[in-house]
Amino acid sequence: MSSASREIMLGGIRAALGRTSGQAVAPVPPPRIHVPEVSLDERVRQFSQAFEKLNGKPYAAQSPDDARAYVARLLQGKSAVASGAPFLVECGIANLPGVEAPGDDRAVLRELCATRDIGITSADYALADTGSLVMISSRQEARLVSLLPPCHVAVVPRDRLLTGLDELLTILPKPAGLSSSMVLITGPSRTADIEQILVRGVHGPGEIHVVLV
Amino acid sequence: MVPTRVSLFVTCIVDQLFPNVGIAVADVLERLGYDVHFPEDQTCCGQPAFNSGYREEARKVAAHFLRVFEKADHIVVPSGSCTSMAGHHFADLYEDDPAMLDRIHHFESRVHEFSSFLTDIAKVDDVGAFFPHTVTYHDSCHALRELGIKKGPRALLDRVEGLTLKEMDAAQECCGFGGTFSVKFAEVSGGMAGAKIESILRTGASHVVSIDSSCLMQLQGALARRAVPVRTIHLAEVLAQTKPS
């Protein structure tokens, strides 16, 4: 079915456009992309402001220990699953009491993510102007840790804070090259499908903390 | 100095239903020192046919319009919709006819909606009018979105002695007229007029002002049907009124 359809569809498209197979392509307009100069402190300020506006909870940690203490406070009486991100180990968060790490086992990962209160991850980047996290799926970062638990905590070194989407797309002009999944997370999961009234946490986490270290 | 000559295209709706609007336009222009002419052979701009999909028919009417007006220096029209038809859409009708297209492009820039003629060509906003009422202004769709007319009429109203302008929240929403739409989808059109009237009423204005008589016909008809005492009035009629001496 598919290969015959492929030829018919491509043939039809060419006929509709008056083009021939392999015909040269006019130059594509250059992308409209602009990366502003913003100091790190200003990026931290922008991120915190934007993230807070989204009802996220930003925390500027003074040190890895400070980050660890903040996460420990969030954990009180709660269960958590942590990704394998090296930065979580570096900060001593991966081995906090109550934190479980699934390792490489897919079934264990699903089970933990589906049942624990908090998912702890790092992030590959964060975007200052929109208050977004950028998560690239990998051996260390599973997709489900930031998705299934009702609360997501991301612990991110502040030097991964980019100015915004334009800078990200400048650094990663071909996001698909690295991984099967890159996701920008901009605040807690939300819906307004009933009467345009905003409700958080419909499918993904309704609560997000970002600890900038 | 020889006064500048302007040719009036009053539109068929003004000719047949609201002739006083045309007289008001002439009064204002003459007060400003213009030499106003009315080419008697004028009829319609062809928009009803064009908007209904009858392009061949619209072309005939457009060609007649062109014959009557193409020698004129300034053509002044008390309607955004008809101005847009002559100034923009005649060209759409003759896309495949280079000779006609050439004639049309030569004449397009000389077609002026009344208020923009005052603000952009005559460069006045105070025409010495007096109208001691609270009014609200309805942006007619084609004037607003095809001709970009928004500030001019408000600036003119602003300088009318005694007049208070109160903006309505739905100033830029359609009144529901839409030519044959008003009879093909009568109930929807009526509903749109209803929404507009609610917005008008929230301003407490005694008059609704517009630069298109077709919108005003729709609104006045709907206001009358609801027995609402708000009156509609064309901008030209407001500007034509002066302080009794």
Binding site: I33, L169, K174, A176, E195, G204 | -
Partner: protein, 483 residues
């Protein structure tokens, strides 16, 4: 050939609860858009750029589709070319059969609504679950989306309470937050037990083979991450050349749709999980759909209709949509964009009234983030309808009327004669507005006008007469002055 659904439209207009629901929701969406684009001074430049990129891509579509396919394949995915709904459904059914899939979770996709995929797949006894909250409510209610972005826009919390109580057997719940949590609970279990996830796609990136999905709930992430197999279904016009073009499209899409600078989740998905990745699907299919798009492409003037990024702004700003609502449009695409897409996909003969269901106010074109000239296309479609009807008996009165109109309006003497005759024939009292039509004329344009509003009578003296009198008076006055 269907006529204007007058009864159905009347029903919508006569339902005050529905009118309030549509009016308030669209008003909120308009306000959110207005607030969101305020701080973006070069929003217009982004619209121009978006239009230029779409134009370029559509004009070279074959090239970008081949590039896309090569890159999706290189990422380990498979592109499935589907000419129509049948081919799409038969592929999905076959895949379910081969893999023993009993349950499918779906995220929001207008394209799958367009081909009624659920209906086909359910024939094999497969449980297909819509997981977007609005879509889920509508699936339970057996309705199609009311709006491109907010599918259950017409439903109030009380409607949702009725639906959940009846279909899910839960206790009646009228608090929106709690209703949402009911849906979360029910759907979470579906995500974790489904063998296949189907998503839509907002953009397809040609040079890297990625599918981009924007959403707020997280159900598209779940649909593409939890099940073993993922299918993304997309109309082939969704392709864009580069990821960097998203620096334009993402800035205008969220703002135009819901007033968000970025939606909560923007997923770039490319193929099955790579070696070493812990989770993600094991198989990945990108289903590229034609289903009539090539026909649209063949018209150089109207192919810009395919630039649409489904933001829904034209619906929110359309005074006609805001009155008649989404379900009175004949297809899943409603509002102004629906009024131009449906006739092009199905032919103008199917619903010839549709291009006329607009006052041509132009609000749609004014807000379209990719600058589709919707009013111009509506006008062009109207001309096609008239051409289609030229040799048919339907609409002959209108045709005669416009032919007469053209004759009269291009002959000044005839115009003067006709207006004098009309004035003499006028039945009402001079100077008084007409309030009702004779019963015989109820269905005529005159009757239709009068069904809603009063009509002014012809002026006692047309402008040209007043003008002549005025000129004569002026001459007299100046002669007197000269004497």
């Amino acid at each position: 050939m269907k006529l204007i659904p007058v009864e159905e439209i009347h029903e919508a207009l006569a339902n005050p609860r529905l009118q309030t629901a549509i009016y308030d929701s669209t008003a909120r969406l308009m306000e959110k858009r207005r607030v969101a684009i305020g701080p973006v001074p070069d929003f217009e430049a982004y619209r121009d750029q978006a239009n230029a990129i779409k134009r370029h891509t559509i004009e070279h579509l074959d090239h970008y589709l081949e590039q896309l396919e090569a890159n999706v394949t290189a990422n380990g995915g498979k592109v499935v070319w589907c000419r129509n709904a049948e081919e799409a459904a038969s592929f999905v059914r076959g895949l379910c059969r081969d893999n023993g899939v009993r349950r499918i979770v779906k995220s929001k996709s207008m394209t799958t609504e367009e081909i009624e995929l659920n209906h086909e797949v359910e024939k094999d006894g497969i449980d297909v679950v819509e997981t977007d909250l609005g879509e889920y409510i509508l699936q339970l209610a057996h309705e199609r989306p009311y709006h491109i972005v907010a599918p259950a826009l017409h439903k109030t919390r009380y409607d949702v309470a009725d639906i959940f109580t009846e279909k899910l057997g839960v206790e009646r719940e009228e608090v929106i937050e709690k209703q949402t949590m009911i849906a979360r609970r029910v759907l979470r279990e579906k995500f974790l037990t489904a063998g296949l996830g189907i998503t839509g796609a907002n953009f397809l990136i040609a040079d890297s083979g990625a599918v981009v999905i924007v959403e707020n709930e997280g159900n598209a992430r779940l649909s593409s991450s939890a099940p073993r197999i993922q299918i993304a279904v997309a109309g082939f016009e969704k392709v864009i050349p580069r990821a960097q073009d998203l620096a334009t499209f993402l800035k205008i899409l969220g703002r135009s749709a819901t007033g968000q600078p970025l939606t909560v989740y923007t997923s770039f998905l490319s193929g099955p999980r790579r070696p070493g990745e812990i989770d993600g699907p094991e198989e990945f299919y990108l289903l590229l759909l034609d289903n009539g798009r090539t026909k649209v492409l063949a018209d150089p003037e109207k192919r810009q209709s395919l630039y649409c990024i489904r933001c829904g702004a034209c619906l929110n700003h359309c005074p006609v949509y805001r009155k008649i609502g989404g379900h009175n449009y004949p297809w899943v695409y409603s509002g102004p964009i629906g009024a131009i897409l449906s006739p092009q996909f199905h032919g103008v003969h199917q619903d010839p009234w549709l291009p006329f269901a607009s006052s041509l106010c132009g609000a749609c074109g004014e807000v379209c983030p990719v600058k589709i000239e919707i009013p111009k296309i509506l006008l062009s479609l109207r001309a096609s309808v008239v051409d289609m009807k030229r040799d048919r008996p339907e609409g002959q009165y209108e045709r005669i009327a416009f032919s007469l109109y053209a004759r009269v309006m291009s002959r000044p003497w005839l115009y003067r004669l006709a207006t004098r005759a009309a004035s003499l024939l006028f039945p009402g009292e001079r100077g008084r507005w007409v309030t009702s039509a004779p019963a015989l004329l109820r269905d005529s344009p005159l009757g239709q006008w009068l069904s809603q509003r009063d009509l002014p009578p012809p002026a006692a003296k047309p402008f040209r007469t007043l003008w002549r009198e005025r000129q004569a008076a002026a001459r007299k006055a100046s002669q007197k002055g000269a004497r």
